[in-house]
């Protein structure tokens, strides 16, 4: 048990944004004040999360129990390497998107409720990552989701209301199933503390354990959008304003994956993990997602379907259940949060430049917005897993783990899906950036000299560029980061050490 001196930092990523949200409500219609509060809060949370990461990596898992109760009684906040790493990446993405949203001319960022809902979302994300208690995981999820309902339907356009309804209803069903599994877990074991649950799980019959494992896969599978529970995602995400879609795409599904990894690896002993089921689901998720992406015309819908397909890779890492695979999974989550968020931010800029989201209406953007084209290309190649980008490292590690476990079918499937992802990205590239527009641009986009002028505000370009730069940094520093992921995977698979650190600090 190390890092006791900074344990008080642990609740800050949850408490600071909640304070920020209340200040934001109090600030009311004073836009400048609201934005300052938002930026300062997220900046502070980012700094805190970096300190936490450094401390956790140096001194081991950190624990803070609310109210000073003994461990299984009080609500525990736990930061191990996995949680701390994801927290840093999440805070960076949240901060970049907030800057982008402030820089974007449009109605949504001017909405009174935007800043406070965004702060609550970030508190929910931090809470879901840091909690050591299954019921607080439920509460944090709800905090995050309720904020996301508000953000998704902010503006109240017809399309948003339609998609928002589906999204809320699906999420609420998932939450109900979560409460149901909590009820069953509590009646079987008498605890909802994750470390305590892991200890109690051993006494249950193996059939009951497997049933719980599958039930939790369904609960988090809906949030993580795995096959066959993904259908709500490509329907609802694209209707939100672009910064909001970006943060949803980067973070929300990954939090679902995080919860799934945490529960499957920590709660269940190796023999009752449904590894085969997870691998089959992973393969189907990859294939269906990428095929969906190829069929679409709208850039944001293409990107939304590729989220589904990328989730498949993460589930594959989970399904293999080896240290190498879990390390690859953590690396791919870190990579994916950054790349996916930047791709959606670029898509928002494309909409600004080209005035449309549909590939059939876009074209020739490379001449008008070369910077945008370069940013898209870097992020898209990274997503598809082309060397030397970060996506390549994550896929290589995953494939090696798969080959080491002799799961050749899933390895082959993931290679084919990689190729198809490259095709889907190349489609966006050729039709939106490279080729001439098939349908002439609307008059309003053409300046007096006949040349279309670039309309990207710097406030949107800079955060997007920064995120792309982060993804390049991940590729450059892949060695140390991967070594860190291996340490994190070691922590995750060592269930005994985790329960000991939480229950007997």
């Amino acid at each position: 048990m190390g890092g006791a001196a900074v344990t008080w930092l642990l609740p800050l990523p949850i408490v600071l944004p909640l304070l920020g949200a209340s200040l934001s409500v109090l600030a009311g219609r004073a836009k400048g004040l609201q934005r300052t509060v938002g930026l300062v809060t997220l900046l502070a949370s980012t700094v805190v999360s970096v300190v936490l990461l450094v401390e956790v990596d140096r001194g081991g898992t950190m624990l803070a129990v609310a109210g000073g109760h003994p461990s299984p009684m009080g609500i525990a906040l736990v930061a191990d390497r996995f949680a701390a790493a994801l927290l840093v990446v999440a805070e960076v993405a949240l901060l970049a998107v907030l800057v982008y949203a402030i820089g974007e001319p449009g109605a949504e960022r001017n909405h009174v409720g935007f800043q406070s809902a965004y702060m609550i979302l970030s508190a929910g994300v931090a809470g879901s990552l840091l909690t050591g208690d299954l019921f607080s995981l439920f509460v944090s999820f709800e905090m995050m989701l309720t904020a996301s309902y508000v953000l998704l339907t902010l503006g109240g356009r017809r399309e948003q209301v339609r998609a928002g309804m589906t999204y809320i209803i699906i999420s609420l069903i998932a939450s109900t199933l979560f409460v149901l599994s909590l009820a069953l877990l509590y009646s079987a074991t008498g605890t909802v503390n994750m470390a305590d649950l892991a200890d109690h799980m051993a006494v249950l019959p193996s059939g009951t354990r497997t049933a719980f494992a599958v039930l939790l896969i369904v609960v988090f599978g809906i949030k993580a959008a795995i096959f066959p529970l993904f259908f709500w995602l490509p329907d609802s995400y694209p209707t939100a304003p672009s910064p909001i879609t970006a943060v949803f795409a980067g973070l929300l599904t990954k939090i679902g994956v995080y919860a799934m990894v945490r529960t499957q690896v920590l709660l269940f002993p190796p023999e009752s993990r449904p590894a085969g089921l997870l691998l089959v689901l992973a393969g189907l998720t990859m294939v269906v997602g990428v095929l969906g992406a190829i069929a679409q015309d709208d850039i944001r819908r293409i990107l939304s379907f590729t989220i589904v397909s990328q989730i498949g890779y993460m589930i594959m890492g989970l399904g293999l259940f080896t240290a190498a695979a879990i390390a690859a999974l953590i690396f791919s989550m870190v990579h994916h949060i950054v790349v996916k968020t930047s791709l959606f931010l670029v898509a928002g800029l494309v909409e600004h430049e080209g005035g449309d989201n549909r590939l059939s209406r876009l074209g020739d953007l490379i001449r008008r917005a070369p910077v945008l084209a370069v940013m898209f290309l870097l992020a898209a190649l990274s997503l598809a897993g082309v060397p030397p980008f970060s996506g390549f490292v994550s896929k290589l590690a995953l494939l090696q783990a798969g080959i080491a476990e002799k799961q050749f079918v899933i390895v082959a499937v993931s290679l084919v899906v990689s190729l198809l992802t490259l095709f889907a990205m190349a489609r966006i590239w050729t039709s939106a950036f490279w080729s001439r527009a098939e349908i002439p641009a609307p008059e309003r986009l053409v300046s007096a000299t006949g040349r279309r002028k670039s309309r990207s505000p710097l406030g949107m370009l800079i955060p997007t560029g920064a995120l792309v730069a982060v993804s390049l940094t991940i590729a450059v520093a892949a060695g140390p980061i991967y070594a860190f992921c291996q340490r994190a995977a070691g922590d995750l698979l060592d269930r005994g050490a985790y329960t000991e650190q939480v229950l007997e600090p």
Binding site: V139, T146, L172, A183, V192, P238, E438
Partner: protein, 134 residues
């Protein structure tokens, strides 16, 4: 008593699932309400029965388990908030569409009925004509 609680939960789940499969938003919302109630009843039945857990009231061995009750209370509050938001949205949807039906996803329909493909073909022909003109 436990059987009664389990039966109540089952009934709520059944009725909720049936309502959820309807096409009208108002029924779906009521269905969700029933489903979440079912989950809460199940949560309550997870704890031990006994006397009210107030220190000094009776011996601690006879106490009812207060934790599931606290959990259920939290779950009820969360569901209440979300249901309110859902009702507001349903009202908004009714104002916008004059109907209580769940709307179809237009972009999805377009892809599935090949309209997008048709568009692409037409666009391509336009492009060829345009190039010939030049």
């Amino acid at each position: 008593m436990t059987v009664m609680l389990a039966a109540t939960a089952a009934l709520l789940f059944g009725a909720g699932t049936y309502l959820l499969l309807q096409r009208k938003l108002s029924r779906i919302i009521i269905g969700l309400g029933l489903l979440t109630h079912g989950a809460n009843v199940l949560l309550i039945s997870a704890g031990r029965r006994g006397t009210p857990p107030i220190i000094g009231g009776s011996s601690t061995a006879d106490f009812a388990d207060p934790l599931p009750q606290a959990l259920a209370l939290t779950a009820i509050v969360i569901t209440f908030g979300v249901t309110t938001l859902l009702l507001a949205l349903a009202y908004r949807s009714w104002l916008l569409t004059d109907d209580d039906e769940v709307q179809d996803d237009v972009a999805d329909r377009r892809v599935s009925t090949d309209d997008a493909v048709q568009d692409e073909v037409e666009d391509h022909q336009e492009l060829i004509e345009w190039e010939e003109l030049l």
